[in-house]
Amino acid sequence: MVPYLDAAYNLAHWLARNPSDAQDVVQESMLRALRYFDSFRGGDVRVWLLAIVRNTFYTLRSRTPQDALHDELDEAVHPLIDDGPSPETLTLLAVDVGALQSALERLPAPLREILVLRELEECSYKEIAGITGQKIGTVMSRLARARDRLRAELTCRPKEVRRHDVR
């Protein structure tokens, strides 16, 4: 389990979006993992642990209601625009780690987590399905939505990106 501490923290950090909450989530997850190790039925420890981290985050967050509602509503406000700028413009934006980070942070949690699991954690679709408890088809369509949304965040709101950077 300890070899996956980085993985656990990475997911927790991207979900919680700040270091201290992320640490709380990881601590709680590790304790839960210890407590429920008996219920571990074999398979991939990383998937099992990340599923616990995810559940822990959502349980802790539901206890302190905050931007959950905002996250879900947010999605409706910003419809996807399919014809974005050219790949070249995007390249310039995407190599800017700060812009990429704030764009990722603005995504609603369900989309953010799937991108983090796929691109940062390099999980297969099957592993993501195991962690999030979704069907593979849902993983696929949600990942497609997440990428479209991230692209929109990167390209269609450049002003906000800049403001975010300055702050």
Partner: protein
Amino acid sequence: MMCDDAGLLLHAYLDDELDAASSAAVARHLHDCSACKARYETYAIMQKALSEPALYRRAPDALRAQWTTPVAPAAASKVTPITVRRRTPVAFAAAAGFAAAVLLSVPAWLHWLPSRGADNAIVAQAIAGHLRSLQGEHLLDVVSTDQHTVKPWFEGKLDFSPRVKDLAPEGFPLVGGRLDALDGHSVAALIYKRRLHVINLFQWPAENGSATQVATQEHGYTVIRWTGDGMHYVVISDVNEGDLKQFVLAFQNEANPLMAR
């Protein structure tokens, strides 16, 4: 293929999650359709950008220290006076509670943390066994791609019945089996192929049910060990780690239908 169909498959194609036929179909479509190709390239750029290591949040050292070295009571009491000065009482109480939890769970940890010495010996022996199997004609005692020929062959030669699965649909065809010895046990060795690579899978009965999966790289070989369904498994090959993990996943799913969800 139409652009609508390609929309979702594009992502699976980018993630290398498609079977050969669909993969070829998407590649063909991308060749013909410039709009889809542009979208694909955009996603590829984003994927590459997201793999930037700066975006990966590694666990802070303090957190890691808490979870890697179970604190001895003497060490803990030496450390606390320093932390008291800096932290608020609540944080300190939380930290103390946490340290207590760690201490209480130390037995669980010790049982759990890979016992380095013994494991390295198994890895070394697995590599030796793998190398020996590749020399001369030692690889196969029974040559068959049929799991119903390989499994009965072990009967009477071992004091357990090994799990034998043909994983040809997943790209790991079974080519045969043989007897081997590992860690003082007689073990069943199954031989699979991944293209031209040889994969050796050793298995023997497990006494306790620790199920941690551990991957090790040594001498250019990848060794993955796990325990499941009452068996210890060690798989070794010179294929890359991703492929070997895929193999383990395929084998586990086959062995335990409950995990196939």
